[in-house]
């Protein structure tokens, strides 16, 4: 990462920290520009997170925040013996492994489609984006009713077609996959817009050249389209992964982590132990461990895929 100075330095006052040299005047202006943001985020972003993470080393309880004692690494030791964490990690891993390719494929597919369709383009774009705008309350209530075993529209339909009623959100083997589908459905529109604009930025002459070479549409897609939007794909993939790792609200609203713990994810477990069980100390310890895990995975991926989105 490199931040360039845009002007020939007028002021020659300079100073050095470590091996980097700074222009004094530029530094002062920069800090002044960023100051309101720095101050406010220290107070209202860093400090709350810091305080709640520090509770990880204590026995803090929601109802006894005035009597907190230091317990060292006890909470972390407990975390490594907690069978619920194994379950939550497994569910989250399944969720991430399923939702990422699905949502990635869906958003890319929709973008390719929109890039091709001429008529009603604006309308379609708007339609695909609508689930992004709807609140989770609407979508979860809707899907819970649609997927209901006894009265849901989808089961009614399956039965008309001669199939057997499915448990969906009430079946421990299906519930997580239902949430995968619903999440992808709700999120795909956003990444679709990102892909769409990346597609529109591919120079047209690349395709013309390919047509002359009689490359099929599929070959064009593989050899021109995909390589051209690779940086965008890497960016979308990584943000999607981070989002997927933090899934919490959908299972909380739709299944409450059940049936039989089959949709209990890590973020939801952190929330539950901290808020419902008031065990703030333990909850913070898991949050801290989990943050390390996400950071490792996403930084590792960044390295692996190479397409860093920073200049």
């Amino acid at each position: 990462m490199q931040i360039e100075s845009i002007l020939p330095a007028r002021s020659f006052a300079r100073f050095k920290i470590g091996r980097t040299e700074y222009n004094t005047k530029e530094s002062v202006s920069g800090i002044l520009f960023a100051l309101p943001c720095i101050v406010l985020s220290i107070i209202f972003v860093f400090l709350p997170i810091f305080i709640s993470l520090m509770y990880a080393f204590t026995d803090a309880n929601m109802l006894r925040l005035d009597r907190v004692t230091f317990v060292g690494l006890e909470n972390f030791a407990r975390a490594f013996e907690d069978p619920d964490i194994v379950n939550a990690l497994r569910n989250t891993a399944i969720f991430v492994a399923c939702v990422t390719p699905l949502q990635f494929g869906a958003s890319l597919g929709l973008a390719v489609l929109l890039n091709r369709v001429r008529h009603c383009n604006t309308f379609l774009r708007w339609a695909f984006f609508i689930p992004v705008m709807l609140s989770l309350a609407v979508t979860s209530m809707l899907w819970m009713n649609l997927l209901n075993v006894q009265e849901g529209l989808i089961n009614t339909f399956i039965e008309i077609l001669g199939g057997e009623r499915q448990g969906f959100l009430e079946d421990p083997t299906q519930a997580l996959y239902c949430i995968v589908f619903i999440s992808a459905w709700q999120g795909a529109g956003y990444q679709m817009l990102i892909f769409l604009s990346a597609l529109q930025n591919i120079p047209k002459d690349l395709y013309e050249a390919a047509s002359i070479d009689q490359a099929s549409k599929w070959q064009q897609f593989i050899h021109i389209t995909l390589p051209s939007i690779k940086p965008t794909m890497v960016f979308v993939l990584i943000t999607m992964l981070i989002g997927a790792f933090r899934i919490c609200i959908q299972p909380m609203v739709m299944t409450g982590g059940g049936p039989l713990g089959s949709t209990m994810t890590m973020s939801y477990y952190i929330y539950k132990t901290g808020i419902d069980y008031r065990d703030v100390g333990y909850s913070s310890a898991i949050a801290l461990l989990y943050t390390f895990l996400i950071a490792t995975v996403s930084l590792g991926l960044r390295k692996l895929l190479g397409g860093d989105n920073q200049k």
Partner: protein, 451 residues
């Protein structure tokens, strides 16, 4: 560098700890307990934090109770005029309380759910009131309230409302299956769970709807509210903090839970049929689509006050019994109020508490939202409770004890119990269904957790 950042971290942590222990002690406008002692002729303000929003039906009633109380102009022992001042924190009451522990300034009185009394006692947030209450006040409440409010022999909590429940049944459908009015269960001669299931079989044979709505998903406390009675009815109990595994794996407790199994089994059914109602409609019983449901008093109110199709053709039997046991336990529990450790005058706070949870308040609440009063005299005198389903519900309420565990780890226990019953519900899907092993596993987690 590493050393420097390490000491900075320690410094901040130290700062945090000191922040935790010695913050300012009076609240900034948050409605904290007043500390100054008013002389005769002055006002003594009792602050109350409520778990509802001022715009909700229940919140509106609290507002009215506050105004009525202030109009009374009661005096404290020292001659000051008592006034009540409520703040409405809705679902964030818990957060407000946590925050106020560090900033000081809890009010005189806070709203507490009956199931949460033990936890707030354990955390020393609320204080005993039996010595500060006026003579005879505690005796005017139904047993389930005073029992819910009593922890380790001390009374901490009172409530002006109760939510008795039972087995709703559709008379038209049952008559069509050959039942007569004399067959329906009463407090003296209760139906057992097996009777309920047998009725389902007869209903099905008669071509009638036969499902029972178990309403397990009702509220976050649903399983505990409606089904803790299973355990008590069979002669079991929930033990005490750190000892629930032992209590719930006793033969009685397990037998009690097993009363519910027959409704999840599929004997005598086609592949896509279930004995329990599996739909989303919360009005399946009131709309007359199914013959049975286990529920609290709210649906009786909906039917009585509304234009329900089954009005006049339904009844509420007592909560079903366990085969061969005389124990009677029935759903109950509700929000109530308690005096906090920051209250400067517990006796004055108790005067307000007694009114807030008394007969008049209970009647207002009943009229607005349908919860039952807890004042014995009110229950005996109000016209609504002298006949019909409301009288039946009242009788169940009066005969009942408090039937939910009183433990500091209740939130975990509640979830673990729900997990067990939900395991039972999925008995046909899970491999190697073993209820006892599941109970053991879930309850061991509860016992191992920190209170």
């Amino acid at each position: 560098m590493a050393n420097k950042s390490k000491s900075a971290l320690l410094f901040l942590l130290g700062g945090l700890m000191s922040l935790a222990s010695c913050g300012p002690t009076s609240g900034v406008g948050g409605g904290g307990a007043s500390t100054s002692e008013p002389g005769p002729g002055g006002n003594k303000i009792i602050t109350v934090w409520v778990h509802k929003n001022e715009n909700e039906d229940e919140g509106k009633v609290y507002k009215q109770i506050q105004n009525n109380f202030n109009a009374l102009g009661l005096k404290t022992a020292s001659g000051a005029t008592l006034r009540m001042s409520m703040s409405f924190y809705g679902s964030t009451l818990e957060t407000k309380i946590s925050g106020s522990l560090m900033t000081g300034g809890l009010p005189d009185i806070i709203a507490v759910d009956s199931s949460d009394v033990a936890s707030k006692v354990y955390s020393e947030i609320i204080v005993p009131i039996e010595d500060a209450l006026e003579e005879g006040v505690a005796d005017s409440y139904v047993t389930s309230v005073t029992e819910a409010g009593t922890i380790d022999g001390h009374l901490y909590w009172l409530s002006g409302m109760e939510a008795p429940g039972g087995l709703y049944y559709n008379k038209t459908m049952l008559r069509a299956a050959g039942y007569t009015d004399a067959d329906f269960g009463t407090l003296e001669n209760r139906w057992t769970w097996d009777d309920v299931h047998e009725a389902q079989v007869r209903l099905k044979a008669a071509g009638q709807p036969y499902q029972i709505a178990l309403n397990e998903g009702f509220g976050s406390d649903g399983y505990m509210y409606l089904y803790s009675s299973l355990v008590y009815n069979a002669g079991g109990d929930f033990g005490s903090d750190d000892h629930v595994e032992e209590a719930l794996t006793s033969p009685e407790a397990l037998a009690g839970m097993r009363d519910l199994e027959q409704f999840y089994e599929t004997d005598g059914l086609a592949s896509n049929e279930t004995w329990f109602y599996n739909g989303t409609a919360s009005n399946a019983f009131t709309a007359g689509t199914i013959p049975f449901q286990i529920h609290g008093p709210w649906d009786a109110r909906v039917i009585e006050k509304g234009s329900s199709a089954i009005k006049g053709n339904y009844g509420i039997m007592p909560y079903p019994a366990h085969e061969g046991s005389d124990e009677f336990s029935s759903p109950c529990g509700s929000f109530g109020f308690a005096v906090t450790k920051d209250s400067s005058d517990v006796a004055a706070a108790c005067q307000a508490l007694a009114y807030l949870t008394g007969g008049e308040a209970g009647e207002l609440m009943y009229n607005a939202i349908g919860t039952f009063p807890t004042n014995q005299a009110k229950l005996d005198s109000m016209a609504d409770f002298q006949n019909g389903v409301m009288k039946d519900l009242k009788d169940y309420l009066v005969a009942n004890d408090y039937t939910r565990p009183r433990q500091a780890k209740y939130p975990r226990l509640k979830d673990a119990y729900g997990e067990v019953l939900s395991y039972m519900r999925n008995m046909n899907i899970v491999s190697n269904y073993d209820l006892e092993a599941k109970v053991r596993e879930e309850m061991r987690d509860v016992d191992n957790a920190r209170a």
